[in-house]
Subunit: 252 residues, 2 copies
C-alpha cells in the first residue's frame, strides 16, 4: 500500500479562512504533524493522532511525517498560512530530494491564505500592483542575501512584504532593513504593521517609512512597505485604507 | 442606512478553494458584480441580482458596485484568485479615493488563494523562499517599469511569478521578459508553465529558462521562474517536483 502525505495550510488563524480542500485533507488524515500552536488550532478527533514539534524542527518533522506515510498511512502536516510560503512545503520536498524511497509517495499540498494576503485584505489594497515577499530570518541564509534582496526590491520599486521581521535572536534586523530601504525609498512611503491578523488580538498600525518604529515588530507581525505609488485613502470613522493603484506613473 | 461592499476572492476556480469567509460574503449579498466568467462560477440564487461586465472595465464595475452599496444595499464584487493580487481590490479603493461619499461605506475584502499559490501547490514548493509577483500587462503602466522590475527581481535572485504573461494585444511581451531574464539568470534555471490550475483542463509544463517556450503561454497561464537555488526533484511515476529550498548558498 502506498501512503499519502498532505501538507496543509490553515490560513492566518481564523477557521473562516480554512479552505474546504484543506478541511477535507485534515478530515482524511490518521495522524497530524506540526508546530504545536498550529496543531492546537485543529479540533481533536477520535482516532487521529498528533505529533507536535518545535518551531525550528521543520526538517525532522517533515522526515517523521514522510516515514509515517511510507508505512502506508494517511498523514498530514499542518502549517499556518500557506504551506508554500515560508512554511512546511519546502522542508517536505527537501526531505524527498534526499531520500528516493519518498519519491513514490502521494504528496498533496493544500494552499492557504498567507499572512500577507490576510493583512492586505484588512488594510485595503496595498498589494494592488507588483510586490515581493522577503523573510528577514537569517537562520538558514546569510544576511547578505537578505540585504541584496531588500536593495533589489527597493530599486525595482516593489511593494515589499516582510515575513519573520524580528525574533529574540535578531531584534535589530528590522532596523537594519528599514535603514537600508530608507537609502532608496522616500521617507513618505506608507508602511503597515499588521499583527496577529485574523486573531482576537489583531492590530493594524500605519505610518511612513521615515517614522517606522521597529519596536512595533514581533514574530506575529507582518510588515508591508509601499512602492512610490502606494498611498493612504481616507476612511470615515476608521484609520485610512492603504492602496497601491493598478496604474503606474500616470501623473508624473 | 449604510451600505456594505464585499470584495470577494473566488480562488483559482475549483470551489474546494473557496474560503468559508468568502462563501458567507457571497451568501449575504443582494447583488453580485463581476467579470462574467467569474460570476458564472457562482451558483445562482433567487433574489440575488447579477451585473456582469467586461474584462477591462474594473474601474466602472467598482464604481457601479459602490453606487449600489451607497443606496443601502449589501453588494459583492467577485474576483478570481485573491482580490488583493492583480484583481478588484485596487480598483475599488481607487474609486473610494476619488469620491468621499464612498469613504463612509463598510467595505470588506475576503482574501482568496491566488494563481501563484495554487500553481505552487501543484508543483511542489517553488515559492519556498523569497519571491516576487509581477504582472506583464502594460495596459496601465509603461513597459519600462515592467523591465525595471524584471531586472531588479533577477538581480535580487528572487523566484518570480509572472501574471498576465500574454494577450492578443501583447503576444511578444513574454519573449521580451525571458530574453531580459536570460541576461542575468542561468539557462538551467527551472521554469514552470501552470495553465488553468484547479480547473479541468489544468496543465503543468516544466522546462529551463534556456529552453523556455513562449508559445506555451496564454492569459490563463501563470509562469514561475526559479532562483539560483531552485531545482527539480525526482518523483516516481510523475513529472518532477519543483523546489526552492529554505536555505541559501549552503553548498557554495
Amino acid at each position: 500500500m502506498t501512503g499519502r502525505l498532505a501538507v496543509i495550510g490553515l490560513g492566518p488563524g481564523d477557521p473562516r479562512y480554512l479552505t474546504p480542500d484543506a478541511q477535507d485533507a485534515l478530515d482524511g488524515a490518521e495522524a497530524l504533524y506540526g508546530y504545536k500552536p498550529y496543531l492546537d488550532r485543529v479540533p481533536t478527533r477520535d482516532g487521529q493522532n498528533r505529533h507536535a514539534s518545535d518551531n525550528r524542527e521543520e526538517r525532522s518533522r517533515a522526515a517523521a511525517a514522510l516515514r509515517h506515510a511510507a508505512q502506508g498511512a494517511s498523514v498530514a502536516i499542518v502549517s499556518g498560512g500557506d504551506p508554500g510560503v515560508f512554511a512546511m512545503a519546502a522542508a517536505v520536498f527537501e526531505a524527498v530530494e534526499d531520500d528516493p524511497q519518498w519519491q513514490t509517495l502521494d504528496i498533496q499540498v493544500a494552499p492557504g491564505v498567507t499572512a500577507m494576503q490576510a493583512a492586505a485584505a484588512r488594510l485595503g489594497a496595498p498589494l494592488g500592483h507588483d510586490f515581493c515577499a522577503i523573510s528577514l530570518s537569517d537562520n538558514l541564509k546569510p544576511w547578505a542575501i537578505v540585504e541584496r534582496r531588500l536593495r533589489a526590491a527597493a530599486e525595482g520599486d516593489f511593494v515589499i512584504a516582510l515575513y519573520n521581521p524580528a525574533s529574540k535572536a535578531r531584534p535589530t534586523r528590522i532596523n537594519q532593513a528599514f535603514d537600508l530601504l530608507r537609502t532608496v525609498k522616500a521617507p513618505v512611503t506608507p508602511v503597515a504593521f499588521a499583527r496577529a491578523v485574523g486573531r482576537a488580538d489583531e492590530t493594524l498600525t500605519l505610518m511612513t517609512l521615515g517614522e517606522a518604529d521597529a519596536s512595533l515588530v514581533d514574530m506575529a507581525t507582518l510588515v508591508i512597505i509601499g512602492s512610490s505609488e502606494t498611498r493612504f485613502v481616507a476612511r470615515d470613522g476608521g484609520q485610512p485604507w492603504m492602496l497601491t493603484p493598478r496604474a503606474y506613473g500616470v501623473c508624473r
